[in-house]
């Protein structure tokens, strides 16, 4: 349906779009060095065994900040499949991108309130988040990678816990712009106190939804039940419970994401 003339115009426009796209889409990434960390949920037998509790995390790249409305908008304008009017029910529930005013035609940056552009994008499902990361040749971080980055090598454990709990205790408000708070020791912003975040394997927490059961051995492939490594870390309980309540096509008013990338 495109005429030869349009084809030419498109070819000329392509570099301009590429440059614009690159500038908008470029998300600063930080190399997270390899390390060991204690995952929150361990096999029961390992809970009191101090040497076996740590797992190795390979070095990887992590987005310095969550993906913003501006960045996600650029993605949607280039991938109409992920526009609110086109989104499939299997990939997202009906609140997808609720907070964007323009819900038909192309997503125009002029439509979003300027103040919101630098806020983390929310109301996105796991599928949308995964598609965004794939489009950047990236991926979502694994839960272990994400928790390891949050843990920040126990750099400022007490204050971090306080910040996390403070955010959990306060009912929802529209999120502020990313990078409003200082970065942690790894140079990563907003892992606590801004939004919940999707991870690649959010559906890997194996305890049953009624969290009082310690896990039925026959329910899963024999590897058995898990126990919390630190019963005092009730903030971690809340994060794992939150992830457990999610399905891939869910969106949330305070649920966003960031991307990661293999080191090699």
């Amino acid at each position: 349906m495109l005429s030869n003339k349009s084809k030419l115009v498109s070819l000329l426009a392509l570099p301009a779009v590429l440059i614009y796209g690159a500038a908008v889409l470029a998300e600063e990434m930080v190399m997270i060095p390899q390390g060991n960390y204690s995952p929150f949920f361990l096999k029961k037998e390992l809970v009191n065994n101090s040497t076996a509790t740590k797992i190795k995390i390979d070095a990887f790249w992590m987005d310095a900040a969550p993906v913003t409305n501006l960045q996600f908008q650029a993605f949607v304008s280039q991938h109409p499949d992920w526009h609110p009017t086109n989104i499939k029910k299997i990939f997202s529930d009906s609140h997808y991108l609720d907070h964007w005013q323009n819900t038909h035609g192309t997503a125009n940056t002029a439509d979003l309130n300027k103040a919101n552009l630098d806020a983390p994008v929310v109301n996105v499902s796991w599928f949308a988040a995964a598609a965004y990361c794939e489009a950047q040749d990236k991926r979502l971080p694994s839960t272990d990678e994400w928790e390891y980055t949050l843990n920040d090598n126990d750099r400022d454990k007490e204050n971090l816990q306080k910040q996390i709990i403070r955010w959990y205790s306060v009912p929802n408000r529209a999120p502020l712009a990313v990078k409003s708070q200082p970065a942690n020791g790894f140079g990563i912003f907003d892992l606590a106190g801004l939004i919940w975040e999707w991870t690649a394997d959010f559906n890997s927490y194996m305890a049953p939804p009624d969290s009082r059961n310690s896990g039925d051995k026959t329910q899963f492939c024999g590897s058995g039940s898990l126990s919390a490594s630190n019963l005092d870390d009730y903030a971690a309980f809340m994060r794992y419970s939150y992830r457990e309540s999610l399905k891939g096509n869910f969106t949330g008013k305070n649920l966003g994401f960031r991307c990661a990338k293999d080191a090699k």
């Binding site: 084809k7 392509l14 299997i90 559906n203 927490y205 026959t218 329910q219 492939c221 024999g222 590897s223």
Partner: protein, 203 residues
């Protein structure tokens, strides 16, 4: 028609070289490589376009299961207890349908274990369990395809240090358009509900 195809190829080429693609006001969808007529319905799992490799080495997408109802589960061959039980239960459903009806149903097992469950391994597993007829599909995919399918179906799983997987045990019944219509606990010996669901879809 020819012009259209040329442009499609051009677009594909551009897409392959660069991530961003220019928006076109006239088009609302990028059509996937398959030349299938209608796009899958909005809640069909056929919307996932990842490639899978069957036990016989052929590659396919989920949409290939379309046209018939499908009994589907996610398992892996090194699994000791839950997975053999799951396979037994799917066979129970197959038997309950009778040979004539069963021929109009797909039985599909998708492996959670991409490293160890090669097509050869899957063939071996099929022989071991006597599930070699045309209706059965055993598939291997890459890690991200597996995660995507699991998230779509609602299957929880996690790889553990030993290389094994902890996972839910659920059998899903899809209609011919790839929409999940019924779920059964794979650990339960009673598959009547699942069987009835399939029969209803064959009417």
């Amino acid at each position: 028609m020819k012009i259209k195809l040329k442009h499609k190829l051009l677009l594909s080429f551009i897409l392959a070289c660069n991530s961003p693609a220019f928006a076109d006001d006239h088009e609302h969808e990028h059509h996937p490589q398959q030349s299938a007529a209608s796009a899958p319905s909005t809640d069909s799992i056929f919307n996932i376009t990842d490639n899978w490799t069957a036990a016989n080495g052929n590659t396919f997408q989920l949409g290939a299961l379309g046209g018939k109802p499908t009994v589907i589960a996610m398992v892996y061959t090194s699994c000791q207890y839950v997975c053999p039980l799951t396979v037994q239960n799917i066979k129970r459903i197959e038997r309950s349908l009778g040979a004539a009806k069963a021929a109009n149903v797909n039985f599909a097992l998708f492996s959670l274990d991409p490293e160890r469950d090669t097509p050869a391994k899957l063939s071996e597993f099929a022989k071991l369990h006597g599930i070699t007829n045309q209706s059965w599909t055993l598939a291997q995919g890459n890690a991200s395809s597996i995660r995507k399918l699991a998230v779509t179906l609602g299957v929880k799983y996690k790889k553990v240090e030993s290389g094994d997987y902890e996972h839910d045990a659920t059998i899903f019944i899809l209609d011919k358009d790839g929409v999940v219509k019924y779920q059964a606990d794979a650990m339960n010996k009673n598959m009547n509900g699942a069987s009835d669901a399939v029969k209803a879809l064959l009417k």
